[in-house]
Symmetry: C2
Subunit: 219 residues, 2 copies
């Protein structure tokens, strides 16, 4: 790679980055619909036409922001998986991390929630949607790993593979379901506490049926 070519590649990447940065800020502040491509272009110091040299559509811009946010979200969730600990503890860590990221109100999580809540309105391209689903599945499958760990270490009773798969869906649904529920119910001030305790109780309830000890006690 020679001189001018290298510079042009670098600048091309810079332009794209500038567009994404401008778009993320605007989307975070105003949501998807109200933000015009023109406003993104101006903020990125480009013309509208130039934006379409880097992205096929407004939704592709949104899709790429979504993707990178979900990737970094996934990266953070991965860090909760520390095989040395008890599986039940890891599960609670997982849930706590999920809530923490959400409550931090970081832009990418807001974008993510916005996606989850409005996915069907978004008409994303097949590829972007597929990629987002892949990433999300990757995070969800962390739950499988945690459950398997509990089984292997003897903490949980022996669970058949298809049951593990179903349990991970239950936990994931629980998490999002409880958060979503509490987003629209009650007042803002108690939301954080309601979400935390709600999720904790839900996870406890699921785990209760898995623990060997509990199982033995019950029998």
């Amino acid at each position: 790679m020679v001189g001018p070519e290298k510079r042009r590649r670098r600048e091309k990447a810079q332009r794209k980055k500038a567009i994404l940065k401008a778009a993320r800020r605007l989307f975070t502040e105003h949501g998807f619909r109200p933000v015009t491509v023109e406003s993104i272009a101006k903020k990125a110091e480009l013309s509208k036409g130039a934006v379409y040299l880097y992205f096929k559509s407004k939704e592709e811009i949104y899709g790429q922001i979504l993707q990178s946010d979900i990737e970094s979200f996934h990266r953070e969730m991965l860090q909760t998986f520390q095989p040395g600990r008890q599986a039940s503890k890891i599960l609670f860590d997982f849930a706590d991390a999920y809530i923490d990221i959400f409550l931090n109100e970081r832009e990418q999580f807001r974008t993510l929630m916005n996606f989850m809540l409005n996915a069907e309105n978004l008409k994303l391209s097949r590829d972007v949607r597929k990629e987002i689903i892949r990433e999300t599945n990757s995070t969800i499958s962390l739950l499988e790993k945690i459950l398997q760990l509990g089984v292997d270490s003897g903490e949980f009773m022996n669970i058949k593979p298809h049951k593990i798969y179903s349990l991970r869906n239950i936990l994931w649904g629980l998490l999002n379901g409880i958060i979503s529920l509490h987003l629209f119910v009650g007042d803002e001030l108690t939301r954080e506490e309601r979400i935390r305790s709600g999720v904790r109780e839900g996870v406890e309830a699921v785990i209760a049926g898995l623990k060997k000890n509990d199982c033995l006690e019950k029998s």
Copy 2:
């Protein structure tokens, strides 16, 4: 000034700056002739053609470097002029500053000396040459101000305007003449000391004839 336009102006300025920066480094290292326009372009991450969008010729690049160096040189020389002090002291300060800048071996002074020693080979454009001469005259006229200060304060005897003009030329010529002389004579190791003492003695000799006291003593 709107978004894209502002960015384009900024980037245009950046390109020009990059060319000048690359050129200065190459000229300093190799001199004027051996540096090819192609090599300047490559170092500035542009093509040769692009260089000619910003400069009419290789010599214009050199001319602009020269100009900015001379400007900053002039700025530094201006700082030696502190009207509170004795005129003779200021004169010595002026000479010392001149030598200091030279001996610091800073790139712009090397460029300047190179210009002074090769001016007639350079075929600079009329405008650039005029501007350089204007700047240089501006620095030289500092000497006039210093001399006038000495006359006004009574330190020097009364000198007629045309004599002041002629004295400033003598001092300036002395400065450059002595430095040039010592650049090509003797060994590198003693050069600094030779230049310093040579210039000092020269300035002392000129001032000797101006001082009122000396004059009175002589008479």
